[in-house]
Subunit: 288 residues, 2 copies
Amino acid sequence: MDFVTAVTTDGGADYVEPANRIAVFDNDGTLWSEQPMYVQLAFALDRVKTLAPDHPEWKETEPFKSVLAGDMKGVAAFGIKGLVEIVAATHSGMTSDEFTAIAKDWIASATHPTTGKPYTSMIYQPMRELIDYLKANDFRVFIVSGGGIEFMRPWTEVTYAIPPENVVGSSIKTKYEMHDGKPAVVRLPEIEFIDDGAGKPVGIQKFIGKRPIAAFGNSDGDFQMLEWTTGGEGRRFGLIVHHDDADRDVAYDRDSTFGKLDRGLDDGPRQGWTIVSMKNDWKQVFPE
Amino acid sequence: MDFVTAVTTDGGADYVEPANRIAVFDNDGTLWSEQPMYVQLAFALDRVKTLAPDHPEWKETEPFKSVLAGDMKGVAAFGIKGLVEIVAATHSGMTSDEFTAIAKDWIASATHPTTGKPYTSMIYQPMRELIDYLKANDFRVFIVSGGGIEFMRPWTEVTYAIPPENVVGSSIKTKYEMHDGKPAVVRLPEIEFIDDGAGKPVGIQKFIGKRPIAAFGNSDGDFQMLEWTTGGEGRRFGLIVHHDDADRDVAYDRDSTFGKLDRGLDDGPRQGWTIVSMKNDWKQVFPE
């Protein structure tokens, strides 16, 4: 609030004109839950099961075999390569409109394995309020996530009031084609861009074209985004949400598979970033 | 105006909620002049001359040799490959902030070879007014251009009231690095994406994430953008600016090197697109 007051006070030393009031938010672990796994990974695994009847060969082909057997350790053993194969099989081969419909339908019906709630209810209420507070102060708010840009866009407008054009994420290659005389943008089985870690400043420059003045994250995948944002001239703000609340959510940081926070805990304070303790600082975690 | 009235009339059959009122504009030849060549090509050629003292080898290396000799036919003979080499040499090797400063300085001082005016005065006044008209009706307006995204962003906010985040264009690869302890996004000599022709719907989906309902172009490089935009459900609008005014501007279409308009003249009307005759339809071409 001190930061927002400083940059919005006309005539103040730290005043920033509205055109330059840009805030970026990580999604997984910052705006919504990323435990027990990234929601998009749960989506991909569900898609493997849904598509399995069309792929009898998957019963004998890894990593699909492990996915269908519910063997997560087995899936993890195939590392990044296995993940890319799962993503390619579940996220490509259809048009952009078809994928949007698939993702939209899934998010409307899927439930969190621990709480039984819709994933769009597993959002962090204080961060949701922060988005509104920034917008009320003429900030433009963007999501900058390692998650799939087209996985997020079907629901981020309703859930966070962040429209598709303000979502920056990872992507696969696409191609424009005519299908039965109708134009279509088709999704190809080829990774185009990973918007994580050092990729986040690249994605920010490419999609937004201005350096943000405020950045919000929760893991080491957000380090460079915070470093890039707070490394600019003038008044800046960086914040890390530390998942230290085992009662109301899941407590995780340095040793987590998803959303590991290690360097950020050590270097963040040194950089002048605010480290939020969910346990001590948040009155409420999830929406009612 | 009929279109805008139809999509903004609450309760009307063609009503479109503000969130979906997205308009896309080509830049070269639609918003500003692209004759005698793309402005960005003039920029690249000027940069070759500016950088030449640091590159004595260019005196004997093509296509730089032809550029320095002012031999445009010679440059053209090297085709796309030559152009890519010129772009790589003049558009990479510096940080994003440095390139922004270079482009900004150049556009502030460079003048059109025929009129002697700044390039930012060679904009098409009716299109400039159209941007304001659409924004007054709650449209979000984007540029979708084959030109360099980072060449356009330094001046499109002042010239067209279109902020950097609303500019979609071609790009080279970039990388995040630390330079003397300061974070930088560095421009690499590798083409990343060409936002032209069939690339425009790809760029639109990637950067905007929603299909526009109105598209404005002037050449065959805009065909797929118009086709994609007007191919959607509901009330749509597509327009092609036909450069047929030899008195007040340059007349060109089917045979032009820059901004060739051939298929659009034949198929546009069939598609229901408005073909604007600059000669007959425009009271004024450039700003006073």
